[in-house]
Symmetry: C2
């Protein structure tokens, strides 16, 4: 008899612990169906969640959560976990779809231990929980759940290496679906394949080599297998890896067959997988990632020194599978390994290539030390192309594109360029790829691509040189990157009120154009705006430089705060980042 | 017949390539003797260099350097390499001892490919060289030399994982001396021991698991074994690990028996190993590292939640072996793995402990993303104790303590405290360890410990609150950390000239005490000084805040530059960081 489960009766893991296997199987079916409905309507991390339904049910069934502690890597696979831990309605009731974030979130539930969004952190966080337990004399299980893709990241490998020395209960569930966001890259993946193909019996075994006991679950979407194996390690007194072989996108044919596209997807048709919102075919590229990727493919034809690097997010920087095929060996995805990717860029430059590392803004911060040591100290002409920047980038607190200006401009010897429009973007990229004799960051403007033929392009961006777009009055408006256009609108507003002003596109944010700033020293007010935190950013450097002159300076930018799921327009308004607000500040100052 | 080699006849590796094994052996002996003379006189990385004499001779003998490319991890083991590549005099002639830096340095020689100083970078850099070679159709060997300690770092493990996928010549020499700076920590070290004990035959084998062919050299200080093995991999067409078992400190008894003390040492007696400069026994601790370590040992007795974490540099933060033994399991060295250490701190805090991660200033930048994601977003009360900070810290371009203020204060939710003296240091540490409900950085002042009973200590440092040490006039001097005392001297100078001023110890550098700053808005000048880069630092935040007031602001700090082997006094003078210069700036402004 087919069981039927009413999902809305599940309020906590306790509600599933008395179920039999048939009921649990029915539960998994209902959960997967609910997930498909929500994912196809609202979008989200499709493949990771569909692949982990059974494993998450089995963990909550076997382990005594929340006393037993589960830390999920990235935590983009935790929709089933949220369903079982008091948040079912957010997956069954469209009116409540927006109630939960896409990641674990301690503000939502005691079952969520950390706010997580970047990869490769779960092992390290869990070692701390295990050590705290051991010092306090506790007896709970500590479980780190990490995907095969995440496992290649430095913090995960460091954590894997250290965790086995704890000498106490430390359970690492390796969720191996043979995929990162895109395909995996790295020697350990051949070993994982060997283990999968030998039902976990082969040598070498990376986990044993790292000091762990080892268990393998070949049917990682089979509840009975999972439950049996998790029971066998519950309350284990030493570190163990449970390697589970799961199917990314399980149960949704389109996601099973196109794992990369359905890692994360917007709303889609459940039958065909077709996106519900598409741009008409043949329209011009509308994202800087597309402009970048197509331009690099062109450059590769003309300049054989061109190499594009990426760390595990090729689609997010415009290199979809067909473009990767076109680029061939001149596109290098190193897997989720930003540190080594940055070091490799330096090595490529030393070897005579012209490398560009394309990276999602929030992830470049995983390579601060490498930018400093491998690249900047060595003056290597490697280029870093940042995407999804600023307030119009990602809106989860873990993925903000707010911090790169402050972070990178603090490092010596890196030339940080902030183009305002497509034309300037290409000019800066071309200069960086052909002529630069230093490391260069080119920050793609946030938001839609702006076409602007009136910007003055330079043949050489090695020295800071501000573009004076308009000169006059005793008010100067300096707008960096896409915020240049807010300043231009403010200038227009002022002009309409008969107030003259000077309008500047600074182009470079890592060094000051002192000659240009010297001409502003007798101004009444200088206003800067940048699409990153004001705190520690470029505008504060301007303020400090002009600090000993008579001019007043007002620095506008984003708050130094982990904003979460914000609305860009509201946040900008709160930060006076509107033409109207800027025009008023200016008028106020000259009154 | 014993061969004799005149070291001063060796100008390049070509000069050793026609030698026979007896001559090479004699060469190694002479080089080791010269190294001992220099190291005992001048100090330096003793153990790493003595252990690598034979391997470096063998590499330059077998490989066609500089066409073949050797990248050394950390590069603190490259004194023998420098001897063989045109810089012998810097090791044989005391008058030239200062001619070379302690690391590879492209400015010194074409044989030095990168300026390196941080660990774990060689594999990543070498993957870039190998990939560049493959794209350009070259045929040179690319060799990465990495120590067992460095191998546990995230970038190294990422590089190890990726390197095996190159599918072409990529030779990884693992220099395994069974030691990091201190003892190793991590599961892979048990595997290395297993491999050493089985003459390289055991399974599991971490290198095979990562996709490499594998060779083992048991006598890693035997030229014949090394030469034979390196010859066997020369021009190899696929990635291979050559695992060599070396003796750290080889040939110097005191260094062989006390590997930790002789990893890096100042001048010492060659027979006894005794330091040539010692403080008299029984004197008070004179370094903040000692004050920290002793205070933490006391705290551990009173508060069982206290845990001190460190990533591979225990001695450099005051935790010498006897103190580690005293701390027992409340001191955790995770090996060279700052990322995972930072994540673990967060996990410990979540588990109810009060963790403090003690870290050399220049190495905290290896954990930017973890400070942000694992710690700050999660509001975890983990403490970060920074040492060897600022202009009085380390002076190699790769180890500067200049960047932490700019880097960390850009991250939201972290409270960055800058004590000025021992008393304030302890007060801030105690508050952070007991009461803070947020992440706290406590930056040990650079230079000698200052005793100062006159500072006003607070019971609560959670909100920024500036200490007004002196009030008056229209000049305000704000001195952060140890630079407070420069400001106090400047204030004294001004007082001597009859000029009144306000003197402030800001205590906190991550948030502004706006109430305090508001009282300065009608001042003639506000001068800030901090022991870090002015660019992106705390003073610029002050300048921006006061930007719309009438007061002028002058921000003093260190240059955004990779200064190398500088003299602190000269650099400070060049940056107007002297009481005299500051007093003049002040007087100039009020004239």
């Amino acid at each position: 008899m087919k069981q039927s489960i009413d999902l809305d009766t599940i309020h906590s893991p306790e509600d599933i612990r008395s179920m039999n296997i048939e009921q649990l199987t029915a539960l998994a079916g209902e959960m997967r169906a609910a997930l498909m409905r929500k994912l196809s309507t609202r979008g989200g991390h499709v493949g990771p969640n569909l692949g982990m339904v059974e494993a998450i049910i089995a963990m909550h069934y076997v382990f005594d959560t929340p006393k037993d502690k589960i830390v999920y890597d990235v935590s983009h696979q935790t929709y089933p976990h949220k369903m079982l831990t008091g948040r079912m309605k957010a997956f069954t009731d469209p009116a409540h779809y927006g109630d939960v974030t896409g990641y674990t979130n301690p503000a939502e539930s005691e079952y969520d231990l950390f706010s997580v969004g970047h990869t490769s952190t779960a092992l390290a966080l869990a070692t701390g929980l295990a050590k705290a337990r051991d010092l306090a004399g506790g007896d709970e299980n500590v479980i780190a759940v990490v995907g095969d893709g995440s496992l290649g990241g430095g913090e995960a490998l460091e954590g894997l290496n250290y965790g086995s020395t704890l000498g106490s209960n430390f359970i690492v569930v390796v969720n191996d679906n043979d995929m990162s966001i895109a395909e995996n890259h790295g020697g350990l993946y051949a070993d994982l394949r060997l283990l999968r193909n030998s039902n976990g019996t082969a040598e070498p075994n990376i986990f044993r080599a790292m000091g762990y006991a080892y268990r393998y679950v070949h049917y990682g979407n089979n509840l009975r297998s999972l439950i049996e194996k998790f029971r066998s390690v519950r309350n284990i007194a030493y570190p163990v890896v449970v390697h589970i072989n799961t199917m990314k996108g399980m149960g949704l044919r389109v996601a099973e067959s196109d794992k990369e596209s359905f890692h994360y997807a917007g709303p889609f048709d459940l039958q065909t997988g077709a996106p519900l919102k598409t741009a008409p075919a043949g329209t011009a590229p509308q994202a800087y990632t597309d402009i970048f990727a197509l331009h690099m493919l062109e450059r590769m034809k003309k300049d054989s020194r061109t190499v594009v690097l990426n760390a595990g997010t090729p689609g997010a920087v415009g290199f979809y599978p067909e473009r990767r095929r076109e680029a061939g060996r001149r596109f290098v995805d190193v897997g989720i390994a930003e540190q080594m990717c940055t070091g490799m860029a330096s090595g490529l430059a030393k070897g005579g290539m012209r490398p560009v590392m394309a990276v999602v803004d929030s992830f470049i911060q995983r390579a601060y030390d490498q930018l400093s040591q491998d690249v900047a100290i060595n003056h290597m002409p490697a280029v870093f192309a940042l995407f999804h920047t600023g307030v119009l980038g990602m809106t989860d607190e873990t993925h903000l594109g707010f911090f790169d200006i402050s972070m990178i401009t603090g490092i010596p010897e890196i030339n940080f360029l902030a183009p305002v429009c497509r034309q300037e973007y290409i000019a800066m990229l071309d200069w960086a790829m052909e002529h630069a004799d230093m490391p260069v960051v080119v920050r793609a403007p946030g938001g839609e691509v702006v076409e602007d033929d009136s910007r003055e392009l330079l043949a050489d961006y090695s020295r800071p040189k501000y573009e004076f777009v308009r000169r006059g009055g005793k008010i100067a408006l300096l707008g960096a990157g896409n915020f240049f256009y807010i300043m231009r609108e403010a200038a227009d507003l002022l002009a309409e009120s008969g107030v003259e002003c000077t309008l500047i596109n600074p182009r470079c944010l890592s060094q000051l154009d002192e000659e240009a700033l010297d001409t502003l020293k007798d101004y009444d007010i200088v206003i800067t705006a940048e699409d990153g935190t004001a705190d520690g950013g470029w505008g504060q450097r301007v303020a400090a430089y002009l600090g000993s002159s008579r001019t007043k300076v007002r620095v506008l930018g984003l708050p130094k705060k982990f904003e979460n799921r914000f609305r860009a327009a509201e946040l900008m308004e709160a930060c006076s980042l509107t033409p109207q607000a800027i025009a008023s500040i200016a008028c106020e100052a000259v009154k």
